[in-house]
Point group: C2
Chain length 209, copies 2
């Protein structure tokens, strides 16, 4: 049994590496792919991850400028390395459990995570959106981008499941305004969103806690 965290991680990355051969990834992309595959325990993620060519640069710039991260669910907020983010001045926000958001959702018959993204509004400008659970949250962010000129620096959109997730991610990858990280199909989830965000934070902040 290997019990040293860094040894575990480095052995894991060695095991994942052959599954990335032939994908022609940059060093930064390799880190994001590896952390996602590690978080899912699933090498079948390798061919379905999609990273827009500007996404990593935009995410790094946003974090270095003190940009915030906006998540759809509390699990994503919990998993993000907030200490690493705070070094650059950013914070992680999630509104899904707010009483106000619950009211909006009930009144309008929409999901709470959708209402939560809507209520972020212009705060999303220049920040990082990280959606790990709700397709409706991603659809809503894409609507804000399209109809209300909201402009996050990057959208990490990996909602999961069989109802709307694949469509929401296809729409994310089809739009051309905002760089993105996504995964095609039904797979995804909070752990995947967290893995992508933390990979970028670790690229910027080599000192691990």
């Amino acid at each position: 049994m290997i019990t040293k965290p860094m040894a575990i991680e480095s052995r894991s990355m060695e095991i994942i590496a052959p599954h990335l051969a032939g994908l022609n990834l940059s060093a930064d992309e390799t880190k994001i792919y590896s952390r996602i595959i590690h978080a899912a325990g699933d090498v079948d993620y390798a061919p379905i991850i999609q990273i827009h060519p500007s996404a990593i640069g935009a995410a790094k710039a946003a974090i270095l400028a003190g940009g915030n991260i906006f998540t759809d669910v509390e699990m994503v907020r919990t998993g993000i390395n907030k200490r690493a983010l705070a070094k650059f001045g950013g914070e992680v926000f999630c509104k899904v459990a707010d009483a106000e958001v619950r009211e909006i959702a009930q009144r309008e018959g929409i999901t709470r995570s959708m209402a939560a993204m809507r209520s972020f509004g212009e705060n999303l400008n220049g920040g990082i959106v990280a959606i790990g659970n709700a397709p409706t949250a991603l659809f809503e962010v894409l609507r804000l981008v399209r109809e209300e000129n909201i402009s996050p620096a990057v959208i990490i959109g990996v909602p999961v499941g069989f109802v709307g997730a694949a469509d929401s991610k296809a729409e994310l990858a089809a739009q051309e305004k905002i760089p993105y990280v996504t995964v095609s199909g039904t797979k995804g989830g909070s752990s995947i969103a967290v893995a992508a965000v933390n990979a970028i934070l670790y690229i910027l902040d080599n000192s691990r806690d």
Copy 2:
């Protein structure tokens, strides 16, 4: 786009159902399988989920008796429906971020989640262990069971990854003292542990929040 949470969930369960055909599952098992598959967006979980025949009954009895849930990482604690659990008197505990646990881990050169499980000790008796991330945490719980007569009611053990995860879960499924829910191989994760726990809570507490 479907935006009503209950409609989304019910449509998702319909899509998953055919993938469970032939597995000869009870109604309760079907709920756990379905929520896991939904949480991963991955029907390939169907053949790798393993539920000990006594596990669901033991988990229900533990919750009804006010038993607590002990998790390896904060993401699992965050995702568990604590309001549903609280109706029966239980709470969710996670020690991985405690200063004391960090010290033990550094001193002994073990992972923090391993040190965290060790420091729960006899508090685990009669409770539910839910491990979503760290193989070392599951190995440690199994050692506590084997060597220190610690006796949780059930172990939901779905650590993820390529270093130790599959072995730790095989060891869980091979022991005969404690009923378990697990997933064979490298897959798993916090979302999977949460899905299994919440499925059991929803079986007991049909009123959803």
